[in-house]
């Protein structure tokens, strides 16, 4: 059972007083609405008079569009309009990608296909009707003449010269490349070194938030402004894109994002629908709504993770990794996602994790193919990077006859070596990786101990006696979190004496409403109940970076704390301006203003507006506002050790996980209840991804997985029976409040831990585990049908390579 820390259940109805909130397992106030079913998600918002939109999507993976006939659709009952790209009056049809480092070719996504479709699911036309039933009826009647082109679905095939080109004008399907080096990139193996060469395959996955996407749009302010509501993690980015798409000023666009039913990175995107739907509202001059259904979600929401990595590791006889040489190809689908090149960039940037590996030479490519575009998904390339390093470590240990824990000890960066410059990254806004403070060896040993690594062989024997195969896998990672380049916040002390925080962080399930309020309440020294929060409105927070990359608490929260300090400064300055007030006698303590003097005066926050008004002779108390932008020049880095024990039933190929351990460091923990929830949730998501989840296409680019019974998510029975968590908190000097992010780490470690555990369970069989699986029963049974491995370390002569 996960141990609960300091659970505080009594937060209702207490009189405000100074509280310590950072580190407390405060229950979430937003749970009240959610548990009553009043979450206010986009599909729940009343939409009187809104036309419903159904999008007509390509059924061809690669084709010219010769004709679109609308007549039959237009004649269908309840239809208001049938529109194609030509009808939408867009000034700019290109969707943004922030990964376009110099030299990147322009394979940006467009709002709607015109003469060419490049993936099954691409929007080609749309129907607006009185309701979704009628819209779907009409959509089925839109006739499209496709002239199929040769498709290319496999990225390695697409990267070959002579492959069909998605963008003939680019002359290639290899549209992005980045080189990442550290130390001596020309490192070579010495005679005595072990050289390991492997090719790793990573299968395609997708986020599957429970809430599908949705967009609403209407004209407001007498038709002068456009109000768009969307399930987005990036309201400000969407706003800017909309303004550019229609050629109107930013001030004429308002984007609001309601609470999201999960994001996981697939809503960290500017989607075609987010421009299409507002275009229809402008055209029809009436409110419109589009609610994505699950079937279309599988082909039109962003996919993730598909890549191939060739790795060459040079390891000394002592088990020290001298260097890593990587080449990688990401299958990014038909066009860039908002951060579509980030996962492959993360491979080169983060593959070495907490291990020293002084020399690195990585060359990464993005390749377009006739599949749904790719974007980040929880971990953003980290799961793949971790799996590569961790599999190499286990393979090296096997070859050298060395204990798996020992080889890692020899490579872990020591605490005294940190901070450590890891070289250039190739990320557009994080050019250099510099690891911050931490103690990787301590975290590692804690994980081993909690995971009972030393006793595992007896565990394995006991299972074998029952006819089951047990294996233990280790993985350890370092994760980029709390990225910049900046974040903003606004805050107001309202006339009635309460605080209103305008946060740049969206609620996607991570509990940001509670975390942000905890931080502000602690900063001000007041009770959380005195702090309200608003999120997701560009009218209220026009400039923000957004919710992704495990940055909500650490980056957004830092902005929240800093803006609270600004507010305090402002309040004190107002008191200082009063006649007969000595500015040096003013303090902020105990959640209010202290005026030192013969008789100390204390004015609690709730009374400040009224008191100021009376002291100034104002008729009414006023609102006091502050805003702040915090520059974040460097991300901070979380790290963790994962230990996974698997048990395989060789008669059915069934795999279960009897034990899972996470020992982690995410810096100063704001709310341990939420941190544990993120870790467990991330681990189970990662487990699902490598055990069963698989986006399947046929060789021609036709999507096969179109429903939740096709793409099998983890269920309640998949939660590891024995889940142990251990926290350490090393504050980071890279964040003003010592915080690091935690949202993605569970998934980042899980892929490598499970893969290593599977390899360990099957160590007596001649099977290579060089992929993310998925390790389905079919995969396992095929592995078990392979011949037995010749026992003992695969005997190594000096400098013998393993291909």
């Amino acid at each position: 059972m996960v141990d609960k820390v300091n659970t505080n259940i009594d937060i209702y109805g207490r009189p405000p007083r100074r509280r310590q909130y950072v580190g407390e397992a405060v229950l979430r106030l937003e749970d009240q609405e959610l548990l009553q079913g009043r979450g206010g998600f986009l599909p729940d918002l009343a939409a009187p008079n809104a036309a419903e939109i159904c999008i007509v999507r390509s059924t061809e993976p690669h084709a010219m569009v010769r004709a679109i006939r609308k007549e039959r659709a237009l004649a269908s009952p309840g239809v208001i309009a049938v529109l194609t790209a030509d009808d939408l009056d867009l000034v700019n049809e290109v969707l943004p990608c922030v990964d376009m480092i110099p030299g990147t070719l322009d394979a940006r996504h467009r709002v709607m296909a015109r003469d060419r479709v490049r993936y099954v699911g691409q929007a080609v036309a749309l129907v607006a009707a009185e309701n979704r039933y009628l819209a779907e009826d009409a959509a089925a009647l839109v006739e499209i003449d496709y002239e199929p082109l040769p498709p290319v679905a496999d990225h390695m095939a697409a990267a070959n010269p002579g492959a069909p080109l998605l963008y003939p004008e680019l002359g290639t399907n290899v549209v992005y490349q980045v080189k990442q080096i550290d130390g001596n990139s020309d490192f070579a193996a010495r005679e005595t070194d072990l050289v390991i060469r492997r090719r790793y395959e990573f299968h395609r996955q997708t986020a599957v938030p429970l809430e599908t996407r949705g967009v609403r749009a209407k004209l407001i302010d007498n038709g002068e402004r456009l109000h768009v509501e969307s399930c987005t993690q990036l309201p400000q980015v969407l706003r800017a894109t909309l303004a550019g798409a229609f050629g109107i000023g930013l001030d004429r666009v308002r984007v609001t994002a309601p609470r999201l039913g999960g994001g996981f990175g697939c809503k960290e995107m500017v989607y075609p629908e987010e421009i299409l739907v507002p275009a229809v509202a402008r055209k029809l001059q009436r409110p419109v709504r589009w609610l994505e259904d699950r079937r279309e979600h599988f082909s039109s929401a962003m996919h993730a993770r598909e890549e191939t990595i060739d790795a060459e590791a040079v390891v000394s006889r002592d088990g020290e990794f001298v260097g890593l040489r990587l080449t990688g190809w990401s299958n990014i689908g038909a066009a860039y996602g908002f951060v579509g090149n980030t996962p492959i960039t993360a491979m080169g940037a983060m593959v070495r994790g907490p291990y020293r590996v002084p020399n690195l030479d990585a060359q990464m490519y993005s390749v377009v193919t006739n599949k749904t575009p790719l974007n980040v998904l929880r971990g953003a390339g980290g799961p793949q990077a971790t799996l590569v390093m961790e599999r190499l470590l286990d393979d090296a240990a096997l070859s050298l006859g060395m204990d798996r824990a020992e080889i890692r000890r020899r490579n872990l960066i020591r605490a005294e070596e940190l901070p450590l410059d890891r070289g250039a990254t190739g990320f557009a806004n994080a050019h250099h990786i510099i690891y911050d403070e931490g103690d990787y060896p301590r975290c590692f040993e804690a994980g081993l101990k909690l995971g009972e690594y030393e006793n595992f062989e007896s565990d394995r024997r006991e299972a074998a006696a029952r006819g089951k195969l047990r294996g233990l896998g280790i993985s350890m990672y370092v994760e980029i979190t709390a990225v910049g380049p900046y974040e903003t916040a606004r805050i107001a002390l309202l006339p009635e004496g309460t605080i209103l925080l305008y946060s740049s962080i969206m609620p996607v399930g991570q509990g940001s409403e509670t975390t942000q309020r905890q931080l502000v309440a602690e900063e001000l020294g007041i009770a959380m109940e005195q702090v309200a929060i608003r999120q997701g409105d560009t009218d209220e927070v026009p400039d923000a970076v957004g919710t992704f990359a495990s940055r909500g608490a650490a980056s957004g929260g830092a902005a929240g704390r800093m803006v609270a300090r600004e507010l305090v400064k402002k309040i004190l300055s107002y008191f200082a301006e009063l006649p007969d007030c000595d500015p040096s006698a003013l303090r902020w303590e105990r959640g209010g203003v202290i005026i030192l003097g013969p008789v100390e005066q204390y004015i609690p926050l709730s009374e400040i507006p009224a008191r100021l008004a009376s002291l100034r002779g104002d008729r009414e108390p006023e609102r006091i506002e502050a805003k702040h932008r915090i520059e974040i020049p460097r991300p901070s880095y979380s790290y963790a050790t994962h230990i996974c024990v698997v048990e395989i039933d060789p008669e059915t190929g069934a795999l279960k996980i009897p034990r899972y351990v996470v020992a982690h460091d995410c810096g100063r923990i704001v709310n341990p209840l939420l941190v544990e929830g993120q870790i467990v949730g991330g681990v189970v998501q990662g487990i699902g991804e490598v055990l069963r989840e698989n986006v399947v296409y046929d060789s021609e680019g036709h999507l096969q997985t179109r429903a939740l019974m096709d793409y099998v998510l983890p269920g309640a029975s998949d939660a590891p029976a024995d889940f142990r968590l251990w926290h350490m908190e090393t504050p980071t000097s890279f964040n003003p409040f010592g915080m690091r992010g935690v949202g993605e780490g569970g998934t980042i470690g899980a892929h490598g831990a499970v893969a290593n555990a599977v390899a360990d369970a099957l160590r007596d069989y001649d099977v290579a585990v060089n992929s993310s699986g998925p390790f389905t029963p079919t995969w396992i049974m095929e592995a078990l049908s392979r011949p037995p491995r010749i026992s003992g370390p695969v005997g190594k002569k000096p400098n013998r390579s393993e291909a």
């Binding site: 009240q32 548990l35 079913g37 998600f41 309840g78 599957v208 429903a707 269920g715 939660a719």
Partner: protein
């Protein structure tokens, strides 16, 4: 939040080819008599016509459980039923289980156990837990896993949900739903 809103009933606009059937059904204790399109899904009837938006349509194929309600005392999917199929039935949604103020007993347990994150799947779980309590299912019974297999959650990893459900099943039946 939204309430029943006749302006939201947009299924039929004088279109004679859309066949309809009279429907009489009890929802959260109140009788509803209306005329609905034959193909109208129960989930859409409850959400769009009656404004009961606690249940969520997250898959439309009956796989995820987010649309779960209680019909004639048993948990059921609303997205795999037509409204017209429920003629004469008694339907209970989460709105019918909510306490007049604050959280009911089971909801409090879910909050304390941090058994929800984004909250989108949560109403479905609560309907199943209600049914399990009505049937006095023992927290150690293998039926618990069966009932929980009817719901998907992408956020929590399920451990806290297991804990909350088991705790809820340990409570006596007449403590739920609380109307204090």
């Amino acid at each position: 939040m939204t309430g029943p809103d006749s302006a939201r009933e947009k299924t039929v606009r004088g279109d004679s080819s859309e066949s309809q059937t009279a429907l009489s059904v009890t929802v959260n204790g109140k009788e509803v008599r209306t005329l609905v399109a034959d193909r109208l899904l129960l989930s859409d009837f409850l959400r769009e016509h009656l404004g009961l938006t606690a249940l969520k349509v997250a898959c439309g194929e009956g796989a995820c459980g987010a649309c779960t309600i209680v019909i004639d005392g048993e948990p059921a999917r609303s997205c795999t039923l037509l409204a017209v199929q429920t003629e004469g039935a008694e339907i209970l949604t989460l709105e019918g289980l909510n306490a007049p103020e604050g959280l009911n007993h089971v909801q409090q347990i879910f909050q304390q156990q941090h058994a929800l994150q984004c909250g989108y799947c949560t109403p479905g779980w609560l309907m199943t837990v209600y049914s399990m309590i009505q049937r006095s299912i023992h927290p150690d019974s293998p039926e618990v896993g069966q009932y929980l297999s009817g719901h998907l959650c992408r956020c929590t990893g399920y451990r806290n949900i297991w804990a909350a459900v088991r705790q809820a099943l340990g409570a006596a039946k007449d403590e739920y739903p609380s109307r204090k």
